[in-house]
């Protein structure tokens, strides 16, 4: 979405315009949901965190005034909420990977919400794609939080690594090194040559 369009939406959203607020949610919901789902590994947590992300965005819209790109702000809120959620879950001793539980235990629910692009593929492509996706999901779950966070931010947001580094408060070199390590580890886990 063009920045001028986003700015106009934000201007209207600041005045609690229901149409603008709905468009903001509808526009960014899929990517925000994808990010928090991948960072928490839980559909339930993703649903809750997506709502919380948008509520926080709207409650603090007044603070967002020429502070750079809206997406960087939106995804920072989402990533921080997901990080807090994972930490809190660990403190409570929930150590099991919810990613597997979601993909195995709740496969029906998860498949029912696959993106339309995947539904349009044929059965064989779906099977092959599904297998690759499953292996990729499993490999992602093996990464540490910081590594997963940076490549998921790059995947779901339209931000550059430089913007992501700023969002995470780390130097660009650190962000790139982290992403490079994460991708190398993913390839290794999936048995793919460099």
């Amino acid at each position: 979405m063009e920045e001028s369009v986003v700015d106009e939406l934000l201007r209207r959203a600041r005045r609690s315009d229901p149409g603008a607020l709905s468009v903001l949610v509808e526009t960014y919901a899929p990517r925000v949901f994808g990010l928090v789902y991948r960072l928490t590994g839980s559909s339930d947590a993703a649903e809750e965190l997506m709502q919380e992300t948008f509520l926080r965005v709207v409650r603090t819209l007044a603070d967002y005034e020429d502070r750079g790109r809206f997406e960087a702000w939106l995804f920072r809120i989402a990533a921080n909420l997901a990080r807090d959620h994972v930490r809190s879950r660990r403190r409570r001793g929930v150590m099991a990977s919810l990613d597997r539980r979601d993909e195995d235990g709740r496969a029906g629910a998860a498949l029912a919400r696959q993106p339309a692009a995947r539904d349009a593929a044929g059965p064989l492509e779906n099977m092959i794609g599904g297998e690759a996706a499953s292996r990729l999901s499993a490999a992602l779950a093996e990464l540490n939080d910081a590594e997963r966070e940076i490549i998921m931010l790059r995947h779901f947001s339209e931000l550059s690594f430089r913007e992501i580094a700023g969002l995470l408060g780390v130097p660009l070199g650190t962000a790139l090194a982290r992403a490079h390590r994460a991708l190398a580890r993913l390839r290794e886990l999936m048995g793919q040559p460099e």
């Binding site: 994808g34 709207v58 790059r154």
Partner: protein
């Protein structure tokens, strides 16, 4: 020294750029990643929650806005009244001043009239006194003649 530092910075930037290009290329690995999309119902529910929250907050802000507007109106009224009273006081002073001027003018007129009256009387008295003096002189002379 500065040249060496500049070259080192250039090398570092170039190497960062190379790493970035490599990482961007490797991100293709995630192309196969599928993530459950939020259902339409969920998106609609979140949108409704956001709109409801914004309305609630706007409604909560409304009494404060009314109070603020009321306070501003009261302050405006007080300032206007104070300005008005000032103007009234100034008007009163102006009015008093005019009355005073009128009073002074009247006193002046009165004094002038009194002076005129007095001086006329005095003149007359003087004239009368001269007459009286003349009469006494005449009487004295007649006594002196008689003696």
């Amino acid at each position: 020294m500065n040249g060496a530092r500049r070259n080192a910075r250039f090398d570092m930037n170039a190497s960062l750029k190379n790493v970035e290009l490599t990482v961007e290329r490797d991100m293709v690995l995630l192309r196969a990643l599928t993530t459950p999309a939020p259902s339409r119902e969920l998106v609609a529910r979140v949108a409704a929650a956001v709109v409801a929250d914004a309305r609630r907050r706007a409604a909560r802000r409304a009494p404060w806005r009314q109070i603020a507007l009321g306070a501003a109106a009261v302050i405006g009224l007080v300032l206007a009244l104070r300005g008005g009273v000032g103007r009234v006081a100034a008007g009163a002073v102006e009015s008093d001043s005019a009355a005073f001027d009128a009073w002074v003018a009247a006193v002046d007129d009165s004094n002038r009239a009194l002076d005129e009256a007095t001086w006329v009387g005095a003149d007359r008295a003087t004239d009368g006194g001269i007459e009286f003096d003349r009469a006494l002189d005449g009487l004295e002379r007649s006594f002196r003649i008689g003696t």
